[in-house]
């Protein structure tokens, strides 16, 4: 049977080779098949296991709920696990957590939500939630809210409401932005807490005379300065203007926005120099080391303080600029959970969301994280440190809760326009007219159509 044309007889081996390639391709398909077997097996067993437990707890929901979590750092991951364990003990519904690196989760959220997302996923309130709700990538949970709504204040409710008026989001915890300082430094130098802009400027002048940096400042990563912009904007033009500006309904090229930048430019000499080359952690160190007296940042600034020194950390609300608005708005980004577009276990997922809205669940989470406060009003605050207690007070007194510039606007506008524009303002505070015109042109290009 040897082919006369092929004296070496290599043809068969070539055919074998091709078969081999085919087999390899087949192998590549195998793992997914195996995985499919594995996962279906897993769900059946857990369903059986929970079936036993439901006889005692007897809720409607059974089975397994999958949760996509961006809590990839060790501490929050364990904290979330503790919460889910408590949920399983309570209801018998298993929770399968799929933890993804924090930044990767954010960068891939589009593909994630369009593919086969978990039943429940961690996300942020405000425009960022509304954007995905609006694209039909999340299921509304009005029925959950009708049961648990009483546990949330009205600003929290509006931060959880989509553009269509339905609820899409369960707030879990939040943290306020404010002006942070060290009590011991203020006592030693005899500084008083300012409540108006004039008092604030006088204080800054006094601190500078003492040879200290009045306001620690960092914007290398581009987002920390957004907090200062938001506060100036909300104090001067009010919460509603902030929301409309972020939503693309107000013009950046307006006198109102120009005045915000002009006011900021006036305050800039009191800010730490070289902000664009510094991270917030480094700026926080200058607060820790008493080289700088104040810092406008979120409560996570506490992470840079040792446990003993954290008691010395305190804050006051950003001072009033326009008496019409006073100090009525607080910037307090809310983290929480949403339901994906077609959850496999709808009942279990809603049961989980109900549990996550309780102070009990939030308390379990916060036990290991002293830089946030619980979102629900029934949360037990007795274990809070003084800073957390003050944060609850600040948030409770607020008529409006804003989410932060990059959570209150379209993500593409925040990252490709607002972020570089604020940095270029810090580089060159004199060309405000050119800056706001460029921002408005780009905003129209992004929001338009």
């Amino acid at each position: 049977m040897t082919n006369p044309e092929n004296p070496l007889g290599t043809e068969i081996s070539r055919r074998r080779l091709l078969q081999g390639i085919g087999a390899a391709a087949g192998l590549a398909v195998m793992p997914s098949v195996l995985a499919a077997c594995g996962s279906s097996e897993a769900t059946t067993t857990t369903a059986a296991a929970s079936g036993n437990q439901t006889t005692t707890a007897a809720p409607a929901a059974t089975g397994t709920v999958s949760v996509g979590s961006n809590a990839s750092d060790e501490v929050p991951r364990t904290a979330y696990q503790n919460v889910f364990d408590a949920f399983t003990t309570k209801t018998g519904v298993d929770v399968k957590v799929n933890t993804i690196d924090h930044n990767t989760f954010q960068e891939q959220i589009n593909n994630y939500l369009q593919g086969k997302p978990d039943d429940v996923f961690t996300w942020f309130a405000g425009y960022r939630m509304q954007f995905f709700a609006d694209q039909g990538l999340s299921t509304q949970i009005d029925d959950v809210w009708s049961e648990v709504g009483g546990n949330y204040s009205s600003p929290l409710k509006s931060a959880s409401t989509g553009l269509d008026g339905h609820q899409y989001f369960i707030p879990f915890y939040l943290y306020p932005w404010a002006v942070f300082y060290r009590k011991s430094l203020f006592e030693e130098k005899g500084y008083t807490i300012p409540t108006t802009l004039d008092e604030f400027k006088t204080l800054c002048g006094g601190i500078a005379d003492d040879g200290l940096v009045p306001i620690a400042f960092a914007d290398k990563d581009g987002w920390p300065a957004m907090g200062t912009f938001d506060y100036l904007n909300m104090r001067m033009n009010g919460y509603q203007f902030h929301v409309d500006l972020m939503g693309g309904r107000e013009s950046w090229n307006s006198d109102a926005v120009k005045q915000v930048f002009a006011q900021w430019a006036e305050l800039l000499p009191y800010h730490q120099e070289g902000a664009l080359g510094r991270t917030w952690q480094e700026a926080a160190q200058s607060l820790v080391n008493k080289e700088a007296a104040m810092y406008v940042l979120g409560m996570f600034v506490g992470q840079q303080f040792s446990d003993e020194e954290r008691d010395d950390l305190d804050f006051f609300a950003f001072p009033e600029i326009n008496s019409e608005f006073g100090q009525d708005s607080v910037e307090a980004p809310i983290d929480g959970l949403m339901l994906s577009k077609a959850p496999a276990n709808m009942d279990g997922a809603k049961e989980l969301l109900k549990f996550m809205s309780t102070g009990e669940a939030q308390g379990i989470y916060l036990a290991s994280d002293p830089n946030n406060v619980a979102a629900g009003s029934d949360a037990d605050t007795s274990g809070y440190n003084s800073l957390q207690k003050k944060a609850v007070e600040l948030i409770g007194s607020a008529a409006h809760i804003s989410q932060f510039l990059d959570r209150d606007t379209r993500p593409d506008f925040a990252s490709t326009v607002a972020l570089p524009s604020l940095q270029s303002f810090l580089n060159n505070p004199s060309d405000i007219d050119g800056l706001v015109k460029s921002m408005e042109d780009q905003k129209l290009a992004i929001f338009g159509s």
């Binding site: 082919n3 006369p4 044309e5 092929n6 043809e11 070539r14 055919r15 091709l18 390639i21 954010q106 960068e107 959220i109 589009n110 593909n111 369009q114 960022r128 954007f131 694209q135 990538l137 940096v213 290398k220 990563d221 581009g222 730490q272 120099e273 070289g274 902000a275 664009l276 080359g277 510094r278 480094e282 160190q285 200058s286 379209r410 993500p411 593409d412 990252s415 490709t416 972020l419 570089p420 524009s421 940095q423 270029s424 580089n427 460029s438 042109d441 780009q442 290009a445 992004i446 159509s449």
Partner: protein
């Protein structure tokens, strides 16, 4: 049955062919196998390289946030290109920075790497140590390289400012935050890596040069400088092309160090980073990012293709 007939027919046809072309080595079956073996890689190449490239070009004429099916794509013609050139402030700085990057690499970093390779080739004492030391940055992960240079350049806690005592309010040098300074600071870090890379590539080439050439040059009375420029350098032409192409590619795709340091804003804009910032993320501007990617593609092709054409055409002429 059918197998034997086909075999018979193939032998018949091939016998007939053999009369015409007695030296033909491949049967039809061989042709099929060769076709498959060449075809599969070619198909993979087309699928993973040309198709995405063409789709990028197509998408660059659209507005799409990546959500929903193809039906959700708005076709907006050349609007993206128009907006990039007119109202997108980071674009022209990015082009300028890419060109500065290319200039610094070609005029400074690559010659230094080649110079070091020539020195290493002389087998001076401790060559192995120097080789490893200079090559080390290439081995380090980019996150680490970015971190190392952040520690060196940081305004209050960094090495340089602390050594020269410029950390206070009023006299601080903001290496990474000052947009007139940070590109050059980063270029030092990038060159630090690039020099090691070029050194190893060029050293490998130098090791392959026939030592008798250098001996002959020496006997003819050439200084070592003349021997290098008149004899070794021309002999290394293929390596020189590789080095040049590598340098151009490295400069145009420069991305990582800058991304680690400040995500490519504020004086460190690069085309590759603008592509990433627009496409990766929650609400991606896929059309806009694609348009920038197409511009980068055109710039790359515009630099590489004419050079390769010229070089290889000359080679053919020489043959």
């Amino acid at each position: 049955m059918s197998a034997t007939t086909t075999e018979a027919s193939t032998t018949k046809t091939s016998r007939r062919r053999r009369k015409k072309k007695p030296f033909r080595l491949l049967t039809r079956r061989d042709m099929v196998v060769v076709g498959l073996l060449l075809g599969i890689p070619a198909a993979i190449h087309v699928f993973f390289v040309w198709l995405p490239a063409l789709l990028s070009i197509v998408l660059s004429f659209s507005r799409w946030n990546g959500i929903g099916g193809v039906g959700n794509i708005d076709w907006i013609g050349t609007t993206n290109y128009h907006q990039i050139a007119t109202i997108y402030p980071p674009f022209w700085p990015a082009v300028r920075h890419n060109l500065i990057w290319l200039g610094v690499f070609i005029l400074i970093a690559t010659p230094i790497g080649m110079y070091l390779a020539v020195q290493m080739d002389k087998e001076i004492k401790g060559t192995r140590f120097y080789q490893s030391a200079i090559y080390l940055p290439v081995v380090l992960s980019l996150a680490l390289v970015g971190f190392i240079w952040t520690l060196i350049y940081s305004p209050d806690e960094g090495l340089i400012n602390n050594l020269i005592g410029k950390t206070g309010q009023g006299n601080l040098i903001d290496w990474l935050g000052n947009p007139h300074l940070n590109l050059w600071a980063i270029l030092i870090a990038a060159s630090w890596r690039h020099i090691g890379y070029i050194m190893v590539l060029y050293l490998a080439g130098l090791k392959g040069v026939d030592p008798t050439l250098k001996e002959a040059a020496a006997i003819d009375g050439a200084s070592s400088r003349q021997a290098f420029f008149r004899v070794v350098f021309p002999v290394l032409k293929p390596i020189n092309i590789v080095i040049l192409v590598v340098t151009v590619i490295e400069s145009l795709r420069a991305f990582d160090i800058v991304y680690v340091i400040n995500k490519g804003t504020n004086g460190l804009e690069l085309l590759s980073i603008l592509v990433t910032n627009n496409i990766i993320g929650e609400a991606s501007r896929i059309g806009y990012g694609s348009a920038i990617a197409v511009i980068l593609l055109i710039i790359s092709l515009g630099i590489i293709i004419p050079y390769l054409f010229r070089t290889f055409r000359k080679d053919e002429a020489a043959l």
